[in-house]
């Protein structure tokens, strides 16, 4: 091996990176990618929920909840943000156990509960770039949400009379989801480039007051998760 003389650390690193580096910083690739972050909603609500604040594996997160490489940053790669959507999932919607009350179906929260409030804010280096109201409505999911079709009576009691009259009646259970049409996603226009190691914060706020779920029979401390999904392109050096 020939002797090499370096007059600065930078020259030495560049030489070593060129010769032995695991990434080629002169060639970059763009890959369609999505980053997601889900957090438990809880039973009492909160004034604000922050997303992308934990790297996967920290603070009890796993790949179902987030795929962030780093807290509040995409690490050593650039990310071109093209679309934003929100999402939610509940571990068990208990659709079959509806008893006629608002507390026993997540439908209540879809039409008149936690999904009908709040505002979304995205700050990059503490400056706001995206801001919209009612985030679960404004930037609906695109999960290809399942559909449920029901008909008929769930419960009926008659009172003895001549003829008998209906005393109580309960139809099939109600069902709703976030609007899952493809075009419901929030299109970031023009796209925003979040650069490597740039710090950002995405949040859904409820400044008018923490909002407890209506579906108290379904939602426990860790059964309902709300999330924000960023879709776009990652740009990383070729390896």
């Amino acid at each position: 091996m020939e002797n090499q003389t370096f007059f600065s650390s930078e020259t030495a690193i560049r030489y070593l990176a060129n010769k032995f580096g695991s990434a080629d910083y002169n060639n970059w690739q763009a890959v369609p990618y999505q980053y997601w972050s889900f957090v438990p909603y809880g039973t009492a609500g909160a004034a604000s929920y922050t997303f992308f604040a934990d790297a996967v594996g920290t603070n009890a997160t796993n790949k179902q909840l987030t795929n962030m490489p780093k807290a509040g940053s995409f690490g050593q790669q650039h990310f071109l943000l093209k679309k934003i959507r929100t999402g939610a999932f509940v571990t068990n919607p208990e659709q079959e156990s509806w008893d006629g009350t608002d507390a026993e179906t997540l439908y209540s929260d879809y039409v008149n509960g936690i999904f009908q409030a709040g505002f979304f804010n995205l700050e990059i280096q503490s400056k706001s770039y995206v801001n919209f109201p009612n985030p679960f409505l404004y930037a609906g999911g695109d999960y290809g949400a399942d559909r449920q079709y029901l008909a008929g009576i769930e419960a009926l009691t008659l009172s003895e009379a001549a003829p008998n009259v209906i005393a109580t009646y309960r139809s099939h259970s109600p069902f709703a989801s976030l609007n899952n049409n493809q075009d419901q996603k929030y299109i970031v226009d023009p796209n925003i480039l979040i650069e490597a190691e740039q710090n950002f914060q995405a949040s859904i706020g409820y400044p008018s007051g923490a909002l407890a779920p209506v579906a108290t029979g379904i939602v426990s401390a860790t059964s309902l998760y709300i999330g924000v999904i960023f879709e776009g392109l990652i740009m990383r050096p070729v390896q």
Binding site: N112, I114, A117, P133, H172, P174, F175, A176, N180, G205
Partner: protein, 233 residues
């Protein structure tokens, strides 16, 4: 050394300024304002009149960012705003933000909201939205709740009933594909004042019936969608 004030300010801005007025960035942006509906019906609703922190005259509550994201009355402040879309939103407040009577009704959603839903439907067929910029009219739209739908909402598979009569649910058109677009867009310049109203010239807007002996809380929102242009920082 300069004795010219504007030259001094320019020199200071270039050296120490927190904004670069020679470079501008453009972003998609929404400005929104929700006002509380008077349940007896109204002849007119004014939007963007009360900024964040000021009091909604009907609910008497301080407005937060859930109701509006403007800081001042009838102006967007120091940014240009290119108005490309107008959405309206009849927003029934979440059950847990309703008065007691509604919030503690065990099955209000599948029973006693029904008559209110029919009132909402009546409201949707009325009104004229106007937008004046510096007292000059730029927009006039009839039946704004239908012509300028919110383009947001949930997907309802089926409603249900917990009572022996019918139970209804109603929402405005939730699909993005039906939004009202403005071509060409209108630019509202920094510090320009504007006035946005929904008037009900035919008669007062519909009254909303009580639900479980309580007055339902309903907000009416107008959302301006478009682009802000602001100096780089």
């Amino acid at each position: 050394m300069s004795n010219n004030n504007s030259a001094i300010i320019q020199a200071l801005q270039q050296k120490f300024g927190s904004a670069d007025w020679k470079k501008w960035s453009m972003h998609r942006w929404a400005f929104w304002d929700y006002v509380r509906y008077t349940n007896a019906g109204v002849s007119s609703l004014s939007f963007f009149a009360n900024g964040q922190g000021s009091t909604d005259p009907v609910s008497t509550l301080a407005k937060t960012q859930e109701q509006t994201n403007i800081d001042r009355s009838r102006s967007f402040g120091q940014v240009y705003f290119m108005l490309a879309q107008i959405r309206t939103h009849i927003h029934i407040l979440p059950k847990n933000r309703q008065l007691s009577g509604i919030s503690d009704d065990a099955n209000v959603i599948t029973t006693t909201y029904t008559d209110m839903m029919y009132a909402m439907q009546r409201l949707a067929g009325q009104g004229v939205l106007t937008l004046d910029i510096l007292a000059k009219n730029y927009v006039e739209i009839e039946q704004p709740f239908r012509t300028c739908p919110p383009g947001m909402g949930v997907k309802i598979g089926q409603h249900a009933s917990s009572q022996i009569t019918e139970a209804a649910w109603w929402q405005q058109n939730p699909d993005m594909g039906n939004l009202k677009n403005f071509t060409p867009p209108t630019i509202i310049e920094p510090e320009q004042t504007f006035d946005c109203k929904i008037n009900f010239p035919n008669a007062n807007s519909p009254a909303i019936p009580t639900v479980s002996s309580a007055a339902p809380a309903v907000n009416i929102g107008v959302i301006f969608e478009g682009y802000i242009l602001r100096p780089a920082q």
